[in-house]
């Protein structure tokens, strides 16, 4: 089980153990509710990025409509609570609606792959945004929906920032383990096969469309989960959350960290949330910076920060061992 993460390497095991302990003890050595809340944000955005990475990284399908799916789960939660449903019901309905919307997205957009997939998911995401903005009787239009209170399972009230952080952490860890198992499973291997060699996979008897469809559903599930955490975190949902900018933000998390790696989206989410939080305290121009970082990463570090760092690390250690056969080309760009 642990081997999934460490690949049997002692060094990685120690690094992961330290990281885990740091995450668990974070509320004790970080002073101030503000930073604990930033920690919670990083965790649920990381779940979102892990979900998108299933498609972008492992399936080679770039979606620009994921904020729509994220938002529809958040809206479903808010709307159900507004109708007077309990938290359990609201969450269950939101999960079902999130995954069902993803299924509709997938049926329409999997008619093509590559650029066509981007276009169709973008158009669908914008339609959901338009719906959130205009369908005022359900969504409240520009005013959004406010959610009062967070759930308190077994008397463990999530209104406390620390408690919310721990629940986010548990959800995050479960998501990481699920993705890790998924990637190592035969199904994960088949999915990466459809990314690299769809025609060969087809010839080998794999149902390429179906494999991609299931990957979409898994991605949709993680997206819905993060959307629900988001709406409980902010206690508010408005059309802005579904805008193209939000889809681009989460895509930036994936491609800046490194698509097709487990750690990449987590690092990317951490970076983007921190930059966004810090920068928006000083200047108003977050969107300009988002665009500039996007262009810079795509042109300068196309493989992402994590694979880039691994490549550099590999070059450094190999130089020391004086083996000239550098196999740095293993981190080829995935999409």
């Amino acid at each position: 089980m642990i081997d999934i993460f460490t690949g049997g390497s002692k060094l990685r095991f120690i690094a992961l153990a330290i990281l885990l302990v740091a995450l668990i003890t974070l509320p004790f050595w970080v002073t101030g509710i503000y930073y604990i809340n930033v920690g919670s944000q990083i965790l649920f955005y990381a779940v979102f990025a892990l979900g998108l990475n299933i498609l972008v990284g492992y399936a080679g399908l770039v979606s620009l409509g994921h904020a729509g799916l994220f938002g529809i789960s958040a809206y479903a939660t808010g709307y159900m609570l507004q109708l007077g449903a309990g938290h359990g019901t609201a969450i269950a309905v939101a999960l079902i609606i999130g995954v069902a919307s993803m299924a509709v997205f997938a049926v329409l957009s999997l008619r093509s792959s590559g650029i066509g997939f981007i276009m169709i998911t973008l158009a669908l995401g914008q339609i959901l945004w338009g719906l959130a903005y205009r369908w005022i009787s359900v969504t409240g239009g520009d005013n959004g929906i406010s959610v009062r209170g967070r759930p308190a399972p077994f008397g463990f009230s999530l209104s406390e920032p620390i408690n919310f952080y721990y629940v986010s952490l548990i959800v995050f860890l479960v998501a990481v383990i699920m993705v890790a198992i998924f990637v190592r499973s035969p199904f994960g291997a088949a999915l990466m096969g459809t990314r690299d060699q769809p025609r060969r996979m087809n010839a080998l008897g794999y149902h390429v469309w179906m494999i991609r469809f299931y990957a979409c559903l898994f991605s949709g599930l993680l997206t819905a989960v993060s959307g629900i955490l988001f709406v409980y975190y902010t206690n508010f949902i408005s059309p802005q959350t579904l805008a193209l900018t939000s889809s681009a933000e989460v895509l930036l998390m994936v491609i800046s960290g490194g698509p097709g790696t487990l750690l990449g989206p987590i690092v990317g989410a951490t970076l983007v949330v921190i930059i966004k939080t810090v920068v928006s305290g000083f200047i108003e121009r977050w969107n300009f910076l988002l665009g500039a970082i996007f262009v810079a990463i795509v042109i300068l570090v196309p493989e992402g920060i994590v694979p880039g760092a691994i490549r550099l690390w590999g070059l450094i250690t190999r130089k020391r061992a004086a083996t000239p056969t550098a196999s740095a080309a293993t981190t080829e760009r995935t999409p």
Binding site: L108, M119, L122, F294, P302
Partner: protein
């Protein structure tokens, strides 16, 4: 009765504007195989620049039509710069090119917000077109009829360009088979810049022409881009006829949707897209699935 006539005229007008926007988008898509996600921003930028020149910008104050031409040329030059200096860095990597256009669109939107602020800017209807034309009992705003006329003129001009000139033949060859076009000596990468600039200029022209009826506001780019995407998904990439039919269709559905089901106007657009994707994934007049 009058209600329906007005709605129809509005739909055709909006369809005409969409055609100006989407024809360039479709040509860029057909030739370079990328959806240019800056297209909404170029539309908005054209509207802002043109509107500012009409009011007076750096001491330049022109009438509406000259301002429209100047704004279109400025944005076309910007398009050429984007293609030459950014997209050219990533030859053949379509995904990266799309992401770059996405990044630029955010920068452009924020730039407009920084320069022109958050309040909508209204563009005055050009002189002489503020009145109404009466046909029997029906009354049409002159300016809307003028937009329809302009869209038809541009459509014919584009068709002549693509069908009757050497440049058009080269573009068509590039759309059909870029490798073969290169083999016979067409400099396809030069065509990329020309088509990108042409598309950018057309988008900006649509923006300023649409200014008097849509007004200009932050977020206009994100309102228009999905419509251009829909036109291309419905009409088929790289097809002028497809853009024309798709634009009119989307114009009608959008306007009728807004009048009859205002809350679901955006959602109704989903239906033609659904039908086309299910029955004819390459679009009504497209040759291949993108």
């Amino acid at each position: 009765m009058n209600f329906w006539i007005v709605l129809t005229v509005n739909s055709v007008t909006f369809g005409g504007l969409l055609f100006l926007l989407a024809s360039g988008f479709s040509l860029i898509f057909g030739l370079m195989r990328i959806p240019n996600l800056t297209h909404g921003s170029l539309f908005m930028l054209g509207a802002y620049v043109g509107g500012s020149i009409v009011i007076g910008l750096f001491g330049v104050k022109l009438n509406f039509w000259l301002a429209a031409v100047l704004a279109s040329l400025t944005v076309a030059a910007l398009g050429a710069v984007i293609e030459r200096f950014l997209l050219r860095q990533l030859p053949g990597d379509q995904l990266a090119q799309v992401l770059v256009t996405l990044g630029i669109s955010f920068m452009a939107a924020d730039f407009c917000l920084m320069i022109w602020g958050g309040d909508p800017m209204s563009v005055a209807t050009p002189e002489g077109l503020g009145g109404f034309a009466r046909v029997g009992a029906a009354v049409f705003p002159m300016y809307r009829l003028a937009i329809i006329a302009i869209a038809v003129v541009v459509a014919v001009a584009l068709w002549m360009l693509l069908d009757r000139t050497r440049l058009g033949a080269m573009i068509r060859a590039g759309v059909d088979d870029p490798d073969m076009a290169r083999v016979v000596g067409i400099r396809v990468s030069q065509l990329f810049t020309i088509v990108f600039a042409l598309g950018a200029g057309l988008a900006a022209f649509a923006g300023i022409i649409g200014g008097p009826i849509l007004s200009v506001y932050p977020g206009l780019d994100q309102d228009m881009l999905p419509l251009a995407l829909l036109v291309v998904i419905i009409g088929g990439a790289g097809s002028l006829l497809g853009s024309f039919v798709g634009s009119i269709l989307v114009g009608f559905i959008y306007n009728f949707g807004q009048a009859l089901l205002p809350e679901l106007a955006y959602f109704v657009l989903f239906l033609p897209m659904l039908l086309v994707l299910l029955l004819r994934p390459q679009g009504l007049f497209g040759r291949h699935v993108p």
